[in-house]
Symmetry: C2
C-alpha cells in the first residue's frame, strides 16, 4: 500500500496525489481538452514536482507505435555511413523518433539476427545502409510488413523503397572530366564485383568512354573492396601493366586514398604522372595531398531523405517509391591533363 515507490512514479501515483483517477491524469498530461484547465494545470504541476516521465514502453503497448526506427549498417565506423546515419538521426529526432542502430558487418547471420531484433522491438520502420543487401534476408524483411527504405540500393517490392544517388550519371561526369582533360587510358577500381552501386558506377564509366570515342581496355578495370587496402592492392596491380593508365577513377574515396598511397610509394606523382578521382567527397578528401577531385554525395541529405520517406509511409502516402539524388563533381588538384609523351 504505502510503498514508497522506489522505481519511477507512475500515472497512478500522480492520480493518488492529485485525488483524481489515473485516466484524468493521462488526459491532463496529453493536454486533452476533456479535462478542466484548472485541474489539468494542477496535475501537471504535481507530475513535474514528482519528476514524472511517461513510460514509452507502456504507451507503445497500447498505441502499437514505438516511435523507433531500426537502422542497419555494415559498420558504423565507415565515415560515409557515419554521415548518412547522422542525417537520419537528425530528421528522426525532429519528429520524435529514436534510432536504434545495428552493425551487420555484412555477415548474413548477423543480418538476420538484426532484423529479428528490430522485429521483436516492434520498430515502426527500417532503414538499411549497406553496400550489399543480402538477398538472403530480404524475404525475411518483407514478411514483417514494416516500411523499409534502402539507401544507395534498390530492390523491387511493395514494402521496399529506396533513396539512392544517381550513380551512373555521377560516374559518367567523373570519367568525362578525365576524358576532357585528354586522358586516353583511364582505369577504374571498383568494389567487389556484383554489388549494385559498383555495377552502376562501372556503367557510367563505360558510357563516358564511349561518348569520348575511347575504347575500353579490360585490363584497366580492377576490383577493390571499397576500403583503402583494396585500392592499394588494385593500384599495385595496375602499375605493373606494360602501359599503365594515365588516369584513374575509383569506386569511392577510401579506394582512392589507398591508390594515392600506392602511387606515391612507387615514386610517381599525382596528378603529373597519373590523375585520380574518387567518389563520396568524404571530409578527408579536401585534406589529402593533393586534395582529391571527387564526386560529392549529399550524404546527410541521403539519410535525411530516407527518413523523410519513412515518415511519409507512416502517414499512408505511398507516392514515389524510389528517389534518386544527383551527385556533384568537385574538382580539386588530383587531376590534370596527361603529361606530354616524351
Amino acid at each position: 500500500m504505502n510503498t514508497f515507490s522506489v522505481g519511477h512514479p507512475s500515472i497512478k501515483d500522480i492520480a493518488r496525489a492529485a485525488k483524481v483517477s489515473h485516466p484524468t491524469v493521462s488526459r491532463a498530461l496529453r493536454h486533452s481538452p476533456l479535462v478542466k484547465l484548472e485541474t489539468a494545470e494542477r496535475i501537471r504541476r504535481i507530475a513535474s514536482t514528482m519528476g514524472y516521465r511517461p513510460s514509452a514502453i507502456a504507451r507503445s503497448l497500447v498505441t502499437k507505435k514505438t516511435n523507433t526506427i531500426g537502422v542497419v549498417v555494415t559498420t558504423i565506423s565507415d565515415p560515409f555511413i557515419g554521415e548518412v546515419v547522422s542525417g537520419i538521426e537528425e530528421i528522426a529526432d525532429n519528429h520524435g523518433y529514436s534510432v536504434i542502430l545495428a552493425n551487420s558487418n555484412a555477415d548474413p547471420d548477423r543480418e538476420i539476427k538484426v532484423v529479428h531484433s528490430f522485429h521483436e522491438r516492434r520498430a515502426d520502420g527500417i532503414l538499411i545502409t549497406s553496400s550489399r543487401v543480402g538477398a538472403l534476408y530480404l524475404p525475411l524483411l518483407r514478411e514483417l510488413k514494416v516500411p523499409i527504405v534502402l539507401i544507395n540500393n534498390q530492390y523491387p517490392g511493395e514494402f521496399i523503397h529506396s533513396v539512392t544517388i544517381d550513380n551512373v550519371t555521377a560516374s559518367r561526369d567523373a570519367t568525362r572530366h578525365l576524358t576532357q582533360l585528354g586522358h586516353k587510358r583511364i582505369a577504374y577500381i571498383g568494389d567487389q564485383f556484383g554489388f549494385q552501386s559498383d555495377a552502376e558506377r562501372l556503367a557510367g564509366y563505360r558510357r563516358a568512354l564511349e561518348e569520348a570515342g575511347l575504347s575500353l581496355f579490360p585490363e584497366l578495370i580492377a576490383a577493390g573492396d571499397s576500403r583503402a587496402e583494396g585500392g592499394t592492392r588494385a593500384m599495385q596491380q595496375l602499375l605493373t601493366l606494360s602501359t599503365p593508365p594515365t588516369a584513374l577513377f575509383c569506386y569511392n574515396d577510401m579506394t582512392a586514398l589507398g591508390a594515392l598511397s600506392c602511387i606515391r610509394a612507387n615514386g610517381l606523382k599525382v596528378p603529373q604522372d597519373i590523375s585520380v578521382v574518387g567518389f563520396d567527397d568524404l571530409m578527408i578528401a579536401s585534406y589529402t595531398n593533393p586534395p582529391l577531385t571527387t564526386i560529392r554525395q549529399p550524404k546527410r541529405r541521403l539519410g535525411g531523405a530516407a527518413m523523410e520517406m519513412l515518415l511519409k509511409l507512416f502517414s499512408g502516402v505511398h507516392s514515389e517509391t524510389h528517389t534518386k539524388m544527383p551527385g556533384e563533381l568537385i574538382v580539386r588538384e588530383s587531376t590534370a591533363p596527361p603529361q606530354k609523351e616524351a
Copy 2:
C-alpha cells in the same frame, strides 16, 4: 472473437491453437522445466509456423528491463566516435542489448532532450562519448538512477563511471618522441580550452618538456577545435611567429590533418621543415602524405570496455569505477630530427 489477427500473433493466439493456456506457452518458449517436454516442443513448433516473435515491449513492461542502452555522441559522423560506437555495439549485441543512438551536437538543449528521451524509453544504462560533458545536464543524469559510463571523460559521482585513455602518459610519450629527436621548439595545438582531455594532453606535453629540460614557450600553444579547420587556423597562426616551431604535437589526428594541409600550403615540407604528431590513430593516419606519426587509441576497445563496465554494473558489481587504458606511440614518417641550422 474470431478476428483474424492482422497484427503480430500473440502468445494467446498460440495458446488457442495449441489448446493450452497462455502462461504455458510463455513457459514453453522460455524453455522452462515446468512444462512437459513433449507439449513444449509441440508449442514451439506451432509458434514457429505462426511466425511468432515475442514482443520485447510487453516483456519489458513486466520485467522492468529493456535490454537497451542509450548512447550519446556529439556527432556520429566523427570517425573517432564511429569506431568507439562500433566497439560498443559489438559487445552490446553479444549480450542481447540494443543500442539506441542520439547525437547531441554538443548543444545543451539537445543534450537534455536526449537524456529525457532515454529516460522515457527506460534505457537500462547510458554511455556518453562526448568531448565535452555538459555540466548542465549531469545533475539530470544522476537523478535517473541509471548506470552511466563516460568515455574519455571523468566525472565524480556514485552512478557515474568512466573508461578513458591515459592522456597524460600518452601525450608525454608523443612529445618525448619529439624531444628525443632533438627538437627544442615544439608547439601544441589543442582543443577548445577547458575540456578535460585537452587539459590532460597539454599536461603531458608540459611534463615531457620539463623532463627534457626545455622551457615552455606560451606562444607555441594554440587552440583548435578538434577538427581539421581548427588545425589549419591554429597552424597558420603559428607560422607567422618570428621563429616558428620545428615540431608540432596535435590534440588529435583531425587537427594534425588540418595542420599538415596548412604547412603544405605555405610551401614547407613535413618532416624536413617541421615534424608533426597526432593523436587517435584514425584509419586515415596511415594514408596521409607523409603517413602520420601518432598515438594509437584502442578505439573499439574503449567502447567495448565501457559496455562491459555497464554489464558489470547491471549484475551488481561496483568494483572499479574508473578504467584507464594505455595509448601507443606509432612512429611513421611525419617526424624526423630538426634540420641543421643554416
